[in-house]
Homo-oligomer: 112 residues x 2
DNA sequence: CGGACATATGTCCTGATGGGCATATTGTGG
DNA sequence: CCACAATATGCCCATCAGGACATATGTCCG
C-alpha cells in the first residue's frame, strides 16, 4: 500500500501511469510523449514495476509496459474502509460531534 | 492528487491516518499510541494538513486532528477512471491483446 | 557475425525529507 | 498574571531520490 503511494507520489511516474491507462507503451514512446530522457523513463518504470503497478512484455527489441490492476484494486479496497467518511450519514454524525465538543467546552459535562 | 499520494507515502503518516479513521485525536495521544516523539507527530500532521487530509480543532490547550473526506473522495474518483482495468470485460480484452501480440510475433500480420 | 536500435544500468550531483533534540509559542486554570 | 501543559518550530545530520550524462546490455536483421 505504502509502496503504491510512494510510486504514485512522483509527478513523472504519475504521468506515466496516466499514459499507460490507454494501453501498453514502449519505453521510447513514453519518453517522447512525456518529454523525458530515456534513462529516466526506464528508472521510473523500474520503480513502478517493483511496486507491482506495471508489467513488462518483450516485443522485438522493445519492452511494452502495461498497467497492472492489482495494486489499484487493492488501493480501492483500502479506500472503501474510509467510505463512511463521506457518507451523508457520517457528515451528520460529524456535526453531532462538533456539537458535543462545543458543549463540553462551555460546561464540563452535563445534559443527560 | 500527487500531494495526497506523497502525504500517504510515509509509513508514520499512513499510520496516523489509519488511527484517525476512528475519530479525532490529540497530538500527544497520537504520539503515545504510535510510539512517536511529539515533534515528529506535529510535523507529520503539518504535512497531512497541508495536503488537506486532516483538519485541526482547538480543544483547550490541545489540538484535535481529524480526517477530512475530500482528498479521499477525490482519490476515489481518480481510481474510478481505472476501474475498467479490473473488469472481467477488460481482462478478456487483455487476453485478446496478448493473443494479437503473439500472432504478430510469429508472422508479421495476417489472419484477417 | 556485426551493426543499429531499444532499453537498462552506473556514477555524480543536488535538493528534499525524516528523525532527534532543544526551544519557542500558545492556551488554561488558578 | 503565572506556571504548566500541549503543541509548534528551528537546527543539525544522515539518507534518499530524481535528473543529466555516459555507458553497458540485449535483440534483431542483413
Amino acid at each position: 500500500m505504502i509502496e503504491t503511494f510512494a510510486a504514485l507520489a512522483d509527478p513523472n511516474r504519475f504521468r506515466i501511469v496516466e499514459l499507460l491507462r490507454s494501453g501498453p507503451h514502449a519505453v521510447n514512446d513514453i519518453g517522447e510523449r512525456l518529454q523525458l530522457n530515456q534513462p529516466q523513463v526506464s528508472k521510473h518504470l523500474r520503480v513502478l514495476k517493483e511496486a507491482g503497478l506495471v508489467d513488462v512484455q518483450p516485443r522485438a527489441q522493445q519492452r511494452l509496459y502495461e498497467l497492472r490492476a492489482q495494486p489499484l484494486r487493492q488501493l480501492h479496497e483500502w479506500l472503501e474502509r474510509y467510505h463512511q467518511l463521506w457518507d451523508e450519514r457520517f457528515e451528520a454524525m460529524d456535526e453531532l460531534i462538533q456539537e458535543l465538543q462545543q458543549e463540553e467546552k462551555s460546561h464540563g459535562r452535563s445534559k443527560k
